[in-house]
Structure formats: C-alpha cells, structure tokens
Amino acid sequence: MGELIAFYLLAGIAVATALAMVITRNAVHSALFLVLNLVVVAVFYLLLGAPFVAMVQIAVYAGAVMVLFLFVIMMLGAERVGGTTGLRWQVPLAGALGAALIGGTLFAFLRAPAGLAPVGSPPVPFGDPAAIGERLLTTYVLPFEITSVLLLIAMIGAVVLARDSGPEGK
C-alpha cells in the first residue's frame, strides 16, 4: 500500500518535472528539472528492487552526463532561449511522435490488461551487484567488451572534437 502511494506521488513528480523541463525557457532551469527527473526515475528503480541500477542512474546520468550538459549550456551562454527558435518543422513532428507514443502505450494497455497484473517479487539475486557482475563477465561478456571499444571510440571522438574547437586551434 505504502509502495503504491509512493509510486503515484513519484510518478506525479516525474511527469511534472519532465513537463517543466520542456516548457521552461531558461536552459539551466531546464537542465535542473531533467536532473530532478532522473533522480525520481532512480527512486523508481529502487522501488522495483534494483538498487544497483538506481545508484548507477544517479552517478552516471544525474552526476556525470547532466554536469556535462550544464557545462555546455553555461559555456555557450545559451541560458535564455530567445522568443524565436530555429525549430520550425520539428515542433509538429515532435508533437506527432509524442502522440504516437502515447497512442501506442494506450493501445498496449487496453489490449493486454492481463500483462499488467502485478508480477510476483523478483528472484532473490535480482538487481544484486554481484549477480550483475557475474552475468556481465560470463553470459554477456561479448557485449561488455564491445562496450569498451565503444567507449574508446567515444574518447577518440571527444579528443578530435576538442582539437578542432580548442581555443588555441592547435
């Protein structure tokens, strides 16, 4: 029961912060609403019994990715988006895609109410860091190693970008 109340409360906050993020004109405020949203989502993971994912969500998304966002926003001096934006055809497209997503979710919801019945509590080692680590290095070792290659590529990309846009132009 307490969990249900917590869920609805958090869901409300999540939706509100997401909306606020889109509506806010000031880019720094937008970024902060997104941080709040990400933290609330992390709490959802906790409710779902996945503390590892929850902590990672905060450390990586709220703690690293959003700091990068904030830096970029502050760096470009683009805090306040002017009245006219460069987005013309994107607005109706975003609206259409958003509507499609809501429609799809509603469709799935109405079609298969049985699938929405509460699932039993997850198996015991579920979401346990040790269990995740073991899976990661046995069953999913190939994707895991590919991830490291991906990270390496991202690193090289960052450095190349840095050299082209660096203040010295070296």
Partner: protein, 118 residues
C-alpha cells in the same frame, strides 16, 4: 530492503525540517534595508559591464566529456569487483582487456594534448 532507503528519505526530511525552523527564525530576525547600491553585482567597486552569462573557454567541456566516459567505465568496475571472488582468473583477463582499451583512450587523449591545461 526498501526500508533502508525509506530511512534515508526520512533523515533528509527531518534534517531539512530542523533547518527550516532555524531559517524561519532568521527570516523574521534579519534586517532588510535594501538600496540600489547594495544590490549591485560585486566587482571590487568597479561598475559591472554586461552580465556573467557569456561564453567561456571550451576546455572545461573536454574534461567533462572525458569524465563522462571514465565514469561509465568505473560503474562497470563495481559489479566486477564484488563478483570477483566467484569469477576467478577468467575475470582478470576480461577486465584487463576492458581496462587496457580504456587506458589506451586515456593515453591517446594525453598524447594529443587534450589533458593539457594551457
């Protein structure tokens, strides 16, 4: 298990409630006689030109980018470190591969001068 986290929420709530009492008291006690000079932005007595929300150096951005990449890596290390005893030598080799690739990335950034603060 959820209880453990509920306690964290309660702790934060209570400490802010306590703080709120102090701040409320302060709100009523503090003097307030603003004048335009007091509210000026401080710049060692010089009149401020423009606001501080301007473009500044891109180098902070590069460090933030590299930080994000390494942060993702560090996150992978934690489950590995806990499960380590159950995995044995096999895990050492796999993780060594993972770490060496990333170390290669760091060395690349280093060699290209991205870690230089000029």
């Amino acid at each position: 298990m959820l209880q453990g986290y509920a306690v964290v929420g309660l702790y934060l709530l209570l400490s802010f409630a306590l703080l709120g009492v102090v701040l409320l008291l302060w709100w009523f006690l503090r003097p307030k006689k603003p004048n335009p000079l007091k509210l000026e932005t401080y710049e060692c007595g010089v009149q401020t030109v423009g606001d501080a929300w301007v473009q500044f150096r891109a180098q902070y951005y590069i460090f933030a980018l590299i930080f994000v990449l390494f942060d993702v890596e560090a996150v992978f290390l934690f489950p590995w470190a806990v499960a380590y005893n159950q995995l044995g030598l096999y895990a050492v080799i796999e993780m060594a591969l993972f770490l060496l690739l990333l170390l290669g990335g760091l060395l690349y950034a280093w060699r290209k001068g991205a870690l230089e603060w000029a």
